[in-house]
Symmetry: C2
Subunit: 327 residues, 2 copies
């Protein structure tokens, strides 16, 4: 039986998305068709729907945290969502996430909130048999966290502050703990602190209200787009400390004072955006080592028809990860 | 004969400075008294006078680019203007310019625009016999430039853009050229480009209008506080490139767009403020290697009575370095 139509979620404009019927995509050169098994929702998907995103081209099927089966062999893969040129300096230096010609599934091309997807073989990272699809779908956001941590120059025992105890902050904590750094999460919402307690206790990572933070950290990362969080974490950095801008800031954020703080206190700020294949492979390895801890981040498995409501929940508040399951 | 009064320049408030008669300072513990021979004016001195500065405590004798003679031995020294605690983490890590208890001559304590100064022996860096006092007084700003360059992770042949071809930009070019980096200066003022041609030709460093800049640099530094210059240099950085915030930005600068650029293009921004003793010693070594090139940066030698007018000229425009000569 040849399937030629599929169900997909389509964003057509700000606050407009619906489940639609689309043609099944046809593989291009060097591509294979995959049947998607899991696609986990990212706050960036919610951002795309509600305020747009720099790299978003509409109309678009979103979704970039994807696990899928090869249509013919049935093998399972986590899908690196990028398409890089392969021959620019960034690509040749192993930083293909910085390729100026980067095109991203779910941003420039249709992504994983659909039954089928076409991708190049080189983008497919095998998922170990024992790893569940829900947990394996965290390889992309965890890989992005690893990319952020790779931008910091830290040694074992250094103190890292992660602002925001949402799913991204928790994934950062998971990755940082593996590096031997002393991680502290900060979170303004007491309800979120309660929600994440099982995860934080399992990881033995403290999660504190900002006013309860100890004094000086060697490094910090923002895992929330709130400008106040960025100011707060820099105020807790030692002179000469490092911080990573992992979450983009709302348009119109005034960053002048922060830049001068960086100047006078000789701080080091690094951006982080996306991840490389190698980082996503390392993320899969880590998920395979600690599937139970990672599994605590999955709040719900939902059907595609529930995705619009889930995106609204994610945008407005405190949801843990929602995974759309197709099989 | 005991001298107990001295002439000094005193800043007492915004746009208020005058040459006054002050008591000669009395050495504190572990300090010696020095007779100042040269103090070169910095744009920060002009900033202090005209808009204030974060670390300035009024009333204040400014001046932190100082060469002086030991009152008893007559030996000449460049004076590292800092006073660090010596036992905090920054101090123990050899980054004493980041000491949270830092007090700076000419900022927190009276500086070099006076006939005498007291300083600790550990702050005194011997000036080689053959080096003129005017050129030796550039050790502090050149050391600050070396500190900025030390924040960048570059290899020989990498392309560095320095925005602003004033004295600071030219000192940065001098230091960067020694590292084997390919330096380009950018400058908005055609008059400034003409003024600095002798220096740039001697150094074989191109100085270009922004619109004539080639495409992609590995790293960049702002040697001007103009926010537009910072935007301009980041637009010429390769993805994943580095930039150093060497000049602080005017209060009220909107840096939000720049922060998001840093996020999306995974740039690395480092602040730089002051220098360590070791960096200032390296600066003295470099000045001793190329006194003629460095000498091209000294526009005028003046008397203390001409300093107020010189500070106004520096603040308003295009002056090269002015050195106040006391002997």
């Amino acid at each position: 039986m040849t399937v030629d139509r599929m169900t997909a979620l389509l964003i057509s404009g700000t606050d407009h998305c619906e489940v639609v019927d689309l043609p099944v995509p046809v593989p291009g050169e060097n591509e294979v068709r995959l049947a998607i098994t899991h696609c986990t929702l990212c706050r960036t998907d919610a951002k795309m729907l509600h305020v747009g995103q720099r790299d978003l081209v509409l109309p678009r099927v979103p979704g970039h945290e994807i696990v899928a089966r090869h249509e013919r062999t049935g093998s399972r893969f986590a899908v690196w969502p990028g398409a890089a040129c392969g021959h620019c300096r960034s690509c040749l230096n192993g930083a293909e996430n910085l390729c100026a010609k980067m095109r991203i599934l779910g941003f420039h091309r249709d992504g994983g909130l659909a039954e089928f997807l076409c991708a190049k073989l080189e983008n497919l990272l095998p998922v170990p048999e024992e790893l569940s699809g829900t947990v394996a779908s965290l390889a992309e956001p965890l890989g992005a966290g690893m990319n952020a941590l790779d931008q910091l120059d830290l040694s074992e025992g250094n103190r890292l502050l992660v602002a925001g105890a949402g799913p991204v902050g928790l994934l950062l904590a998971l990755a940082a703990r593996q590096s031997g750094w002393r991680v502290t999460l900060s979170e303004v919402s007491q309800a979120r602190i309660e929600q994440t307690r099982p995860f934080c206790e399992t990881l033995q990572v403290p999660v504190l209200a900002p006013e309860a933070l100890p004094d000086e950290f060697d490094a910090a990362i923002n895992a929330t787009s709130a400008p106040a969080a960025l100011e707060q974490i820099t105020s807790h950095l030692t002179n000469g400390g490092q911080f990573c801008l992992f979450s983009g800031l709302p348009t119109g954020t005034d960053g002048g004072a922060l830049l001068n703080e960086t100047h006078y206190r000789q701080l080091r700020l690094t951006g982080a955006y996306g991840c490389t294949r190698a980082q996503m492979r390392r993320a899969l390895d880590l998920l395979t080592e600690c599937p139970q801890e990672a599994g605590l981040l999955i709040g719900r498995c939902i059907g595609l028809e529930d995705a619009p409501e889930a995106l609204r929940r994610i945008w407005n508040g405190m949801a843990l990860k929602h995974t759309v399951c197709f099989e």
